[in-house]
Symmetry: C2
Subunit: 569 residues, 2 copies
Amino acid sequence: MRMSKLIGERTKTTPSDAVIKSHKLLLRAGFIKLVANGIWTLAPPAQRISEKIKNIIREEMDAIEGQECLFPVVMPRELWEESGRYSDIKDEMVRLKDRNNRDLVLGMTHEEAAVHFVRDSVKSYNQLPFMIYQIQTKFRDEARSRGGLIRVREFTMKDAYSFHETQSCLEEYYARVYEAYNRIFKRIGLKNFIVVQSDSGMMGGSIAHEYMELTDIGEDSIVLCSNCDYKANMEVAECVKEKPQETKMLGLKEVYTGNAKEIKEVVDFFGDITQKDMLKAVVYNIKGDVEKNIVCFIRGDLEINESKLKVVTNANIVPASLNDSNLIAGNIGPVGLKASEKLEIIYDQSVEGLLNVVVGANKEGYHIANACYGRDFMPTKIYDISKVKDGDKCIRCGSKLYVKKGIEIGNIFQLGTKYTKSMGMTVLNNEGKEITPIMGCYGIGVGRAIAAVAEEYADEKGLLWPKEIAPWLVYICAIRYDNENVMMKSEELYDILTREGIDVLLDDRIASAGFKFADCDLMGIPVRIVISPRSLEKGMVEIQSRDGVLKEEIDFYKCIELIKTYKAN
Amino acid sequence: MRMSKLIGERTKTTPSDAVIKSHKLLLRAGFIKLVANGIWTLAPPAQRISEKIKNIIREEMDAIEGQECLFPVVMPRELWEESGRYSDIKDEMVRLKDRNNRDLVLGMTHEEAAVHFVRDSVKSYNQLPFMIYQIQTKFRDEARSRGGLIRVREFTMKDAYSFHETQSCLEEYYARVYEAYNRIFKRIGLKNFIVVQSDSGMMGGSIAHEYMELTDIGEDSIVLCSNCDYKANMEVAECVKEKPQETKMLGLKEVYTGNAKEIKEVVDFFGDITQKDMLKAVVYNIKGDVEKNIVCFIRGDLEINESKLKVVTNANIVPASLNDSNLIAGNIGPVGLKASEKLEIIYDQSVEGLLNVVVGANKEGYHIANACYGRDFMPTKIYDISKVKDGDKCIRCGSKLYVKKGIEIGNIFQLGTKYTKSMGMTVLNNEGKEITPIMGCYGIGVGRAIAAVAEEYADEKGLLWPKEIAPWLVYICAIRYDNENVMMKSEELYDILTREGIDVLLDDRIASAGFKFADCDLMGIPVRIVISPRSLEKGMVEIQSRDGVLKEEIDFYKCIELIKTYKAN
């Protein structure tokens, strides 16, 4: 490819709405262009990276006996009704109508399509296990797309689906995918990723893992143990629950606390208590059902983990507005509060055994002091619905936990029979009995992977691509391309390297050395070869790699071998 | 790949709704599965063929300096409003809304996206010419999807867009694409294709060509000259217009013709005339505007070419219902008929000079005899709006034309400035003056190409793939796979060939030879190697190719070289 023809504008200025590194640099280097909110065009360099990542994914999926298919982007409503997701998934799924007024959806994932595809032809246990996958465009109507390719609405995704006779067969295959994913992310160059337990969310199923690139710009919180191997997404992370100190129960006391509503205000009001000495009440609705409230009580210093709460309630909960209820914001407490058809009460495990705590009095402007678990309130529904925080103790080894930020680059799920059961897929086992296959599903977002690599590698000069996915491995900087010798030698090197199967970008523009170096660095091409009138006089070229491995003046023809060696290692 | 695990059901019975060869066989061989009307899942073998075709396309596009990008499937309404196509294209385009009620469309082609992508970064004539392309999923809401992969709603398409400073530069590049397309279709194995002039339809622009696979199941009509090189899609095909014989004008005569309304009925009524002695009237509306009628007069033996009429009227015309007009169906004639705001009158060139013809009297039950061009009716709008028919004379050489059926497998358009102008793209020329780049666009449907190859190659046994795109080149038929020697040798050969980079399908099922041969033939694998206990006793295998080139018993190890040679030639 010639720089004189390469489409995409490279700029020095950073677009004002871009705040994270990969977003800024992918824009500045002309790799991506925004078409609409969360919808991008990939310019040639980004498309080249994308294809290289797709090929790595393909190789690793094929190596674990994956069979590549292609499911449709547009699917009929009926298919998604079979699984129940047509109504379960809300605004994230785009619905549309065709010319005959039939309802269609844009695929977000393809469990339904996968089951539809195989349920008629796979009839016997000896066709199991198998895995099918595709690399296809998906659309999710994210409420808040952001960060360039980090969170988008339209994206290219590899999604894979495996089918098994038994849970142990699924687990065995799941372990193979786990390792294949590690190989994929290592091959594309990522070093700062970890695998964590996660919530299976809208996919259904139980055991799930996420591949997380650790980065400060991450939108996910990951809990890690300072001692053992424990790692989990905040959504599902657990910690040792502190037992409250034993103490003498004191008498209940109603206290006028006026406008003190927030935990911090009430603590200040009392003066002699800490947040741990209070119960906090947080109220939710089930989305679309504003009639019913769910009140959650949790120790005052902790936060509700809404992901855990969703699992516990098995519902799409949202923070409630209290306008239409009898609950008094800032004064809600468990003493005397009765569950009803319109009110569900859930306690976090942190509440267990708490004595002499301050709670809301369910009366405008009042709190109650010295409320005691067991005496004044007795939870019937008590679950782990709290967030782990820095310094909590590891549930495995008791050591300190800490919280890091990350972005999800891949996920694997043990789906169970959610889709095969609802969609009526059965096979005959070796006794001729109908059984329902157990599924796993496995996703990688290609664009997200590009962004993750950009985040990890970019430096103050610009992007920097690992050689296995670099759009071009070599950038030939022809200094004074209008010099006949430079032009001839640049073109010769360009031809030789291209014939050797090396991806080369030739800067054939009439421009200054500094201008060309800046573009090369901004675009993140791993190896730069400088051909100038001065070096050619000695029959030499300058070669330099961004990773510092190469940096020398070398004979023109020897540089070819050097690059081949560099590429291979 | 192992047949025991390959997903996709092979059946002996032909689905009743499949009428054409490729549709039947792709279904029977388990290559495709219907998800909804015109929407398919590609099973692994079809996906493999698709990837091979995509790679051939990529190589040829890159060879003419194409730069691969990726435009989005989902685009904002505003982008399509810039070009005017948001309103110009009707039901074929699917419109949808996102969670914020913003209008989006599913891309049918990507001229808008291409211009949007480059208009900010391409600013100077010396960045021209260039070509960008993508291979991406598209959706067109076809009213009548049919024939398996022949006419679908969702499909994978390679679409390319070139940008030029001058028309001559476009023409030069267009010629290169023309040749690249010939190479692509030859490489995927097609032999029965031709290139014809065509209508540029909803793309806009003037000069256009279609690549047509000649086949009886085609839905397009192609006009070919029996002598010279003239070839054109029926939509734009022209022929020599016969001059009417000179004769004496007779007196106008109103005749009561009662219920004789159709041309044939009126000819029968008069008895002494032929269809050529009549004028036929055909009425259209502009779609969405039922108020206005367009009456077309044409010689009675000819048919209106609606594509030409659309170009002439520059409108989306549809056959009219006459309920709301003063026109009398079956009795419409030019004598005394006045054009108005609600009535446009257009004549085909065949009407020119006609004397003493029978025409409608614009009066229920009456016709007029002896109407004469120039005396009784004098066209102001006269165009070529007729269809060429078998036996018409070539406009180039005067020889006989004939009409064949074909399916479009690719198209190339000289777009002109329709999109760059409407979307405000300009570059500075070498005098520093703003000019509007001229575009070309170039499409190939990947699924359609698969179907075309299937149509051309399939025989009574099943599909038959040319080796460059075959999903697998070799099918190892292990006869008695439960025999230890057979299993060992089959697996050995499978491993060796796979390592040699040859795509192999190993039939490792416990099944009869006939069953395996039938599957191999149905799936269209080019080379079959039979490994049986009997042949192995002699250290031999049987090798046979569907094209008849290979057919021998050969030493086990020698067959590897033979296959490598076969593949390379």
